[in-house]
Symmetry: C2
Subunit: 188 residues, 2 copies
Amino acid sequence: MAGPIQIADKRVERSKAQVLAETYRQLVQSGISGVSIDEVSRVSGISKTTIYRHWPSRSALLIDACSRLGSAPDVPDTGSLRGDVRALLARLSDQLQTANWSSVYPSIIDAAERDPEINAMQAALHKAFMAPFDAVIERAKAKGEIPSDHVTTDLIATLVGPFFFRRWFSKEETDERFINAIIESAVR
Amino acid sequence: MAGPIQIADKRVERSKAQVLAETYRQLVQSGISGVSIDEVSRVSGISKTTIYRHWPSRSALLIDACSRLGSAPDVPDTGSLRGDVRALLARLSDQLQTANWSSVYPSIIDAAERDPEINAMQAALHKAFMAPFDAVIERAKAKGEIPSDHVTTDLIATLVGPFFFRRWFSKEETDERFINAIIESAVR
């Protein structure tokens, strides 16, 4: 039987979910700088006092909303580093063109330049998204497929950097030809 | 002798310079999303009506301010593609750590996701900053130093992408060892 405490808890959970949903909607539409707590309060019908009771700062709420942007891909196991890297880059290339996080991420990178809380969140997001690359490279080293003194973070930068460069800076396509060219240049 | 028209012209130029200087100050401090026309008007003492007479939109003013962020490097001529690329990457690495544009650029990338005017400006900025890379690669092709069917934009992405990746995403150092590793992997 639900007592008064459980009912209050449920109401709190529902309020928090409404705030998060509206924050996420604004985040995807306008990036971090476009999220307005006034507007979140107005649309969700939850008072700013209540919002700040659950999230001590605007950054804390943004961090919670950003955690919904996507999850890291699984670690592929195709039997070779090239195959694994191809699978990861094909997925990355697809996500960069279609996923919500791809248009929101520049706003996170921007905010991280000036906000230490957002910077810490971005570092955690980055680590999670790069973990599968790290895993397949470390496995290839353990199997002797590449030299064990190859610097893993160098290899990740040469594999992923060109894709980020094309999506957000040069705004060129990352098709299969490009994926192959990058693997050819980076994995030897 | 200065007539009334020249005096008015000078006053207009001075007003515009004050507006641009304050916009640039806010841009460097807070990124594009942190620039407030209200605040520019308050600090510069120039009315918003006057500001909008000179710049038809907020984006137009931002674009003018961004043009002060830096100029493209000269085209080096060391006698080899590796030497030229090393000179350009050493300068890029240094600028990414010290130049104003390095902390402002993510806000431009972010705004470009949603603002077509800023997007066009970013494309022009990008083209100007990459022009020296394009020049040394095309020269190396003309001299037969690398195959003429090598895709120039692929090579630029493999050279510059890892540096952007480290500055804004993984936030790792780009020291001389890293510069050498990238050249080793990209230029063959």
